[in-house]
């Protein structure tokens, strides 16, 4: 009942939906960078949405199964194959004992998820199996998977129904990453109308400085009229901060829990999954919505997941 890593990818980690509840001790929640895709992947193999899966980034790796299993790949298309035969995304597939899953390079966004029926069995730390890479906490020894690691597959409990039919187009549309929607941030008024126009109408480019902690953006310099520092306050997932050099930073799943740069905007909850798919070199624009609109958009996303879960 295990998976043997024959070849490592760029950054493959064990993730679930994260470890909330410890921010007051300086620990951010971590969890899947694209929480939408991991949930769908888990549902496809009959797991609970919060089951631990592998988060694969930019390049995949090769995984040998030592047992018959049922798996799904969700998120971006990584041109995956089982013993040379193409494996479609967003579909549950059987894999036999001794077979190898080869996950190549992404053809689209930054990440895909490999869900396995029964889940990836690593110790639960502070209520979660997710890896917090920056602190070396959780997951498989708190680090990325390397060649020769052996991962245990969990026991199948309360098996849910496997999902067979899923609207792939709808999934891909969810992860489209040309536009990322934001609400106005707490220091939104520190930026004048001209700066806001620049912020919303020009493309930003994702820099090479790209991690689960934060994503730096290039292409436009955003300047505040009120200075570059606030008295240290809380930072939550998806805050867009503007440091002194004017290049925005999106705080991401392993973000620091407090910070001192002005916060121009916040990514809306429904678009966190898109941020999880951003990769270096991608160009996109921000679009401003109200908090009410953001809540409605998130409800629509929950409905997609719910409808799949009960189908």
């Amino acid at each position: 009942m295990s998976i043997h890593v024959l070849k490592q990818g760029l950054q493959t980690t064990v993730q679930d939906l994260g470890r909330p509840g410890f921010a007051h001790l300086g620990i951010s929640a971590s969890g899947a960078a694209d929480a939408f895709s991991i949930q769908i992947g888990n549902l496809l193999v009959g797991n609970e949405p919060n089951t631990a899966a592998l988060e694969i980034t930019i390049t995949g790796g090769k995984y040998k199964f030592t047992t018959d299993s049922y798996i799904a790949l969700s998120g971006s298309d990584f041109d995956a194959q089982i013993d040379g035969k193409t494996v479609a995304n967003w579909t549950g597939v059987s894999i036999k004992k001794g077979q190898c899953l080869q996950v190549n390079k992404s053809l689209g966004g930054a990440r895909c998820y490999l869900s396995v029926q029964g889940g990836i069995d690593v110790p639960i730390l502070l209520n979660s199996r997710s890896t917090h890479l920056m602190t070396g906490l959780g997951g498989f020894d708190g680090c990325v998977l390397k060649k020769d690691y052996v991962l245990k597959i969990g026991h199948i409990v309360n098996k849910l129904t496997k999902i067979t039919l899923i609207n792939k187009q709808e999934m891909e549309q969810k992860l489209e990453r040309k536009t990322i929607r934001v609400t106005k941030g707490l220091e939104g008024d520190w930026f004048n109308d001209d700066t806001w126009e620049l912020f919303l109408n020009k493309n930003f480019r994702v820099s090479q400085s790209f991690s689960r902690m934060g994503i730096r953006l290039e292409g436009n310099t955003i300047q505040s009229t009120e200075g570059n520092e606030i008295m240290t306050q809380g930072i939550s997932l998806g805050v867009v901060q503007i440091p002194g050099n004017g290049e925005p930073i999106i705080s991401f799943v392993e973000h620091q829990t407090t910070g001192g740069y002005p916060r121009i905007a916040n990514i809306i909850s429904a678009d966190f999954c898109k941020v999880g798919q951003l990769k270096p070199g991608d160009k996109f624009k921000f679009a401003l919505v109200t908090i009410d609109q953001a809540e409605q958009l998130y409800k629509m996303q929950l409905k997609i997941i719910h409808n799949i879960a009960v189908s």
Partner: protein
């Protein structure tokens, strides 16, 4: 006592709220942060994901799949009176041994020069201060410590270090702190403590907690080595 109607509670995003207790970082404002933080830990509201205390604010993130931020906002206003009434846990005095200067405090001369005092003065002033822990934030277990003698205030380094060693004691602006794990950092290193203040696997057992008082005392190298082994 804060009038509940006057408390500023405002959405910070579509899934978080912030309580603002004031514009300053006075001890009175920080006391309110301590009270609310403890109250929210001891009496967790339903479907709250995280609370992030700061000098004068608490950011609260909400599981909006379960609950609207509006309903949390209303409940926060209602708990206000109880929050200010709760007894705070005893503020412990934590004594932190520090080997000042040398390799372990590579920026101590910089702090001395900037403030036009001697290295001995830096050690004397830093180890005779009366400090309190404003909150834990930034990285796991990192204590934001207030109460630095103004004669020691030193701006952050222009270029942050990529790796600050575990236990480093440092000054950043008008704050001092201890790096609980190796991490990047832009503060001026003045020494190092041999104490393990934080284990990420057991965060609730942290040596230093919000509201504690801190005393630093100077040790020599042999004592550093002895404490490191113990």
């Amino acid at each position: 006592m804060t009038n509940p109607a006057e408390l500023i509670i405002t959405p910070a995003s579509d899934c978080s709220l912030i309580i603002l207790f004031g514009e300053d970082d006075s001890l009175e404002t920080q006391k309110k942060v301590f009270h609310y933080t403890h109250y929210l830990i001891d009496h967790p509201l339903n479907d709250i994901l995280n609370i992030h205390p700061g000098y004068s604010s608490i950011l609260i993130s909400v599981n909006i799949a379960k609950r609207s931020i509006d309903s949390v906002q209303k409940e926060l206003r209602n708990i206000c009176i109880n929050a200010e009434k709760i007894d705070l846990p005893e503020s412990k005095l934590i004594k932190i041994p520090v080997l000042y200067g040398g390799e372990k405090g590579a920026d101590i001369a910089l702090v001395a020069d900037f403030n036009d005092i001697s290295i001995i003065d830096v050690i004397d002033l830093h180890s005779s201060g009366d400090y309190y822990v404003s909150f834990i934030g930034f990285t796991p277990g990192f204590p934001y410590i207030s109460g630095l003698n103004p004669k020691l205030e030193t701006p952050r380094l222009k270029t942050p270090r990529k790796h600050v060693p575990l236990g480093s004691v440092a000054i950043g602006g008008k704050q001092t702190g201890i790096y609980p794990s190796p991490s990047p950092g832009g503060w001026n290193l003045i020494g190092q403590s041999p104490l393990k203040i934080f284990d990420v696997n057991y965060p609730e057992n942290a040596l230093i907690k919000i509201g504690d008082r801190i005393e630093f005392y100077s040790i020599i190298e042999s004592e550093f080595e002895r404490l490191q082994l113990s």
